[in-house]
Amino acid sequence: MKLKYIAAICITLLLMPAAIANSNQEQASTVVRLLQEQVEKLAAENELLRKENQALRRQIGAATKDNATPSANLKAPSTDKTAKENDAAIEYWLSGNGKRHNSRCRYFKIGQGRPCGKTDGTPCKICGG
């Protein structure tokens, strides 16, 4: 009779780790499945974001092609009409060194000087004054 009890206890003891292992395995497989699902979900989300990012970049590129973006150092075109008219009225320029330049010259209205008549000062050697 005792032997039967001992045998039953032994069998129980032998089977217990297997049962525990089985339940552990089930838990582990559940965790793995959940993690896999999460990874798939994140990968899908990542792909979606990547596509969104690319679309936005394309939009930026198209907007730049359509609207010329002026560089920071580029000036806006002048619209001051009166100043342009006044400038146009000046034909000769006497620079600080006494040289006379006409409106085609690089030195016309540059630096210290003043408007002058067509015979004032010495004619510039480049433009002829």
Partner: protein, 315 residues
């Protein structure tokens, strides 16, 4: 067995097909327009003459460069030299009527008296501009190179970032005929090349090692003329891993500055590049009626797109 052979052949042909396509992603052109738009030294021409020059130059650009920019996938970058001012540059670009071409930067270099010179350099493109600027050459203890460089950095996502420099290095003007003047001119170009390399290094630190760089312009030197045998300008760029668009071409096939008077045919205009996969085309377009320099154009293939950095939200 015969069917299998056919199948194998078809598979091989299909595999080789992509190699046959010479895809170009970036088209670049450099042109010294020779005192544009008056074509006169330090003098304006009449409005009618200047308008005609602008129109003719724009038509030339449209005829030569526009076909390279033939699809939305090929971006265009223009390196222009000897432009009088921003106004004339804008007029030129508008007259080309090339879709999406915009002025990105034009220099404002001044002479020693502080008066703006009429030989500015500029960059125009169809790309998204990140930053730009122009920098006059710094003087060394004994010489001051004239002018400077204009640069622009473009966002060319997803392929990366491109830095471009438009240059016009010191000419070989030597009124005295003194050999020391030749050496001074060489020194001015070498000083300029060091400053360009320093700037490329600075931009590479800022934008990363994958930064693609293109230098275009009038270098006023070559490897054919005995006068420049000691010159290190081009060699310093080669040392910094730049490739010359004319590598492998005989001197007669790369004339960018045709003979005039006592000056023989010469190669003075170059496009140097680094960081690109390969050059898929190179062209020299004669522009005799418009300038003393021909237009040089190349087509470049970019490296494959860089993958997007991982997003913090999905980590």
């Amino acid at each position: 067995m015969r069917h299998l052979r056919h199948l194998a052949t078809l598979v091989m042909v299909a595999a080789l097909l992509p190699l046959q396509v010479t895809r170009a992603d970036i088209a670049c052109a450099t042109w010294n327009l020779n005192l544009f738009p008056s074509r006169l030294w330090n003098i304006r021409a009449s409005d009618a003459v200047e308008s005609a020059n602008i129109k003719a130059s724009a038509q030339f650009l449209r005829r030569t460069v526009a076909p390279l920019h033939n699809s939305d996938n090929t971006s265009l970058i223009l390196f222009l030299q000897e432009i009088r001012d921003e106004d004339s540059c804008r007029k030129l670009l508008a007259a080309t009527a090339i879709a999406g071409l915009k002025l990105d930067v034009i220099s404002d270099f001044k002479d020693e008296t502080g008066i703006a010179i009429w030989q500015q350099v500029s960059l125009a493109s169809t790309l998204l501009l990140l930053e730009s600027g122009s920098v006059p050459w710094r003087a060394s203890s004994s010489v001051t190179p004239p002018r400077g460089y204009a640069y622009a950095v473009y966002d060319n996502s997803p392929h990366g970032t491109i830095a471009c420099f438009s240059l016009h290095l010191k000419s070989n003007l030597n009124l005295s005929g003194d050999v020391r003047e030749v050496q001074r001119n060489i020194l001015k170009r070498e000083l300029a090349s060091h400053q360009i390399l320093a700037k490329t290094k600075e931009l590479t630190t800022k934008y990363g090692n994958e930064l693609m760089v293109i230098l275009g312009g009038d270098f006023n030197t070559n490897e054919d003329d005995a006068r420049f045998v000691s010159e290190a300008t081009l060699r310093s760029f080669y040392g910094a891993h730049f490739r010359n668009c004319f590598t492998g071409l005989a001197a007669k096939d790369r004339v960018t500055c045709p003979a005039i008077g006592r000056y023989p045919d010469a190669t003075f205009d170059y496009i140097l590049y680094r960081g690109f996969t390969k050059m898929t085309g190179r062209y020299i377009f004669p522009a005799a009626a418009l300038s003393d320099h021909n237009l040089v154009a190349i087509e470049l293939q970019q490296p494959p797109p860089t993958p997007d950095p991982p997003d913090e939200r999905v980590r």
